[in-house]
């Protein structure tokens, strides 16, 4: 198995990108972004097979769909630092005339984005469609999707989960970012999700869990385990526990940093906790 330790510096750098982008735009969603940093870096830099330049149809390539589009800062940082577009473009996040819209979209032609997302609950259906497209094309590559846990409150997800389970969509690997937080508070208080493992299982999915979604080794191992059960007649879900705001102490253990920007002082504190890397800021 590839050793993920060389990604450590990339994690630090993407955390810096996230807090700087959100600070620069004076808006955005740092909490969930920081929580999924290890996952997206692993997925794009140590797991998926894809080619550049970006091609929408992605025949013969693994595809990724971000359903919880509000964590665009981490998505953009990882895309840029994986070569999809220029790193310096990260400075345009949420600004006028930018391809880096508040939530990801295909509308401005940003490489790496295959559907607009952010109106929650829609990404899984699109990922299922893309997985069916691959089957029709006799393309054995895989479709990955990341969903927020709070977004599972949207009913459309359960339509898609029922469809994928009932139709053997086994070229689909979904990860649920199980951080237990949403805008109004803890998911448990806002609307409990119940036993997600049992729910997915009862819909005919292969369920994997990962309790260490902020550990590069564990994320990589989880994805490798998912690969082992792909193409075996069941869609796959990894229920991956993460910490919202991971890597910035004052953003952790709370829902408070779901969707607000740090001020100058808070930015400095976040950057002090994640010092400059050899990769360099945008």
């Amino acid at each position: 198995m590839p050793k993920p330790h060389h990604l450590d510096e990339k994690v630090i750098q993407t955390r810096r990108d996230i807090v700087r982008m959100v600070h620069g735009a004076k808006s955005g969603h740092p909490g969930g972004s920081l929580g999924c940093t290890e996952f997206l870096i692993t997925l794009f830099q140590n797991h998926m097979n894809y080619q550049l330049p970006f091609d929408m149809d992605g025949i013969g390539q693994d595809l990724f769909f971000l359903s919880n589009g509000h964590i665009s800062p981490v998505f953009y940082s990882v895309l840029a630092r994986s070569g999809f577009f220029s790193i310096k473009e990260l400075s345009t996040f949420r600004k006028i005339n930018s391809r880096l819209q508040g939530h990801p979209t295909t509308h401005e032609g940003l490489p790496g984005v295959r559907v607009a997302s952010g109106s929650l609950g829609q990404g899984l259906s699109v990922a299922v469609g893309a997985a069916l497209s691959k089957k029709l094309n006799q393309d054995s590559t895989l479709v990955y999707a990341l969903l927020g846990d709070g977004e599972l409150q949207e009913g459309q997800n359960w339509e898609a989960i029922m469809f994928a389970g009932g139709n053997d969509v086994d070229n689909l690997i979904v990860t649920v970012d199980y951080n237990g937080q949403q805008i109004d508070g803890a998911t448990q208080d806002v609307l409990p999700l119940g036993n997600l493992e049992n729910k997915f299982q009862s819909f005919g999915w292969q369920v994997l869990t990962n309790n260490r979604g902020n550990d590069l080794y564990s994320v990589k191992e989880g994805l490798e385990n998912a690969l082992k059960v792909a193409h075996k007649s069941k869609p796959i879900v990894i229920i991956m526990k993460t910490e919202m705001g991971n890597g910035v102490d004052f953003m952790m253990h709370s829902h408070q940093w779901h969707g607000i920007a740090p001020n100058d002082q808070q930015l400095q504190s976040a950057l002090d906790q994640n010092p400059t890397t050899s990769l360099g800021d945008y």
Partner: protein
């Protein structure tokens, strides 16, 4: 009374035109796939399903998921045609269409049967009279409402070649089939069906035949009506309408839809800017429908040829 230049070759539902068009595409366009939300028979998709089973997806009663899956199927080069009732093709899934299809620029063909009040006995829960408005407001969406079986079949075939999202609206009842089956279909091109000098009647969908009937009655009253079939509401053929009203100086729009948001408002927008003339609207009057036979409902809600005649005569007096 029958139209003088058009012959009804037999009553048949426009949804059957969709079904035949889709089956034709199955044979001729190998990238066309179809999805249906538990209404395969009603949408006349059974032949496609039987003939091309690997290219047909039964999604169950889950229209939101159907729209998302359709968006995903375009990635990799498939051309998805979704099928359900107009009500469930638009209002029920508006945000899915807006985000995952229209804003994302996906090449999905949203095919909607049982549109309007002629759905009939099922009543207002299923009779959508707002769908044209909902769909035409979406940037980049093409909106088509053909008038008979032949035109619906031709439109179905034509939209497969069009790159971009399309809303294709058709209906349940058996209605006259009168357009030429060899006419083909050009998106955005209005059709001058009958020339006239006193009033322009611009009609879409089931109201086209009613307008042709009205023309014959108007003729007996000394009124010469020009009849235009606008099958594409967006993008609309502005020039054919302007050319006509330059001559007739008044216009009636006719549609099986609420006057809010429909063809009539699109025509009013164009004319108010480029060539203002007085206008009246054959449309439902900001109301929901109700149960009844299609013919009863068309009459009660003012969508019949009688009302076109009456409004035309009234409008001409105000020129």
């Amino acid at each position: 009374m029958q139209p003088s230049s058009y012959t009804n070759t037999g009553n048949i539902d426009t949804r059957s035109g969709f079904g035949e068009g889709l089956s034709y595409l199955g044979e001729t366009h190998p990238r066309v796939v179809a999805l249906c939300a538990d209404l395969t028979g009603s949408l006349k998709m059974s032949h496609f399903k039987k003939t091309f089973p690997s290219r047909f997806f039964q999604v169950g009663i889950a229209e939101a998921n159907m729209m998302g899956i359709a968006a995903g199927l375009t990635i990799g080069g498939w051309i998805p045609f979704t099928g359900t009732f107009a009500n469930f093709s638009t209002g029920r899934v508006y945000d899915q269409i807006r985000q995952s299809i229209a804003y994302s620029g996906k090449n999905v063909k949203i095919c909607a049967s049982h549109a309007g009040i002629t759905l009939g006995e099922d009543g207002a829960t299923h009779q959508i009279l707002e769908d044209i408005g909902l769909m035409k407001m979406l940037p980049g969406m093409t909106v088509i409402n053909p008038c008979d079986f032949n035109q619906t079949k031709a439109a179905t075939i034509a939209i497969a070649k069009h790159q971009g999202p399309v809303y294709l609206r058709f209906g349940r009842p058996k209605v006259p089939n009168f357009t030429n089956s060899n006419l083909g279909f050009e998106i955005g091109k209005g059709l001058l069906l009958e020339p006239g000098n006193d009033i322009t009647i611009v009609a879409t969908g089931h109201l086209v035949w009613e307008s042709l009937l009205a023309r014959e009655v108007l003729k007996t009253k000394g009124v010469s009506a020009e009849i235009i079939n606008i099958h594409t509401i967006k993008p609309i053929d502005e020039q054919i309408i302007i050319n006509s009203v330059q001559k007739t100086k008044c216009i009636i729009t006719a549609e099986e839809h609420n006057y809010h948001g429909g063809l009539g408002e699109t025509v009013a927008r164009i004319l108010s800017k480029r060539h203002p003339v007085i206008q009246d609207y054959i449309a439902t009057q900001d109301t929901f429908g109700e149960s009844g036979t299609p013919a009863e409902l068309m009459k009660k809600y003012g969508l019949s040829s009688d009302n076109i005649v009456k409004k035309s005569i009234d409008l001409i007096k105000h020129k």
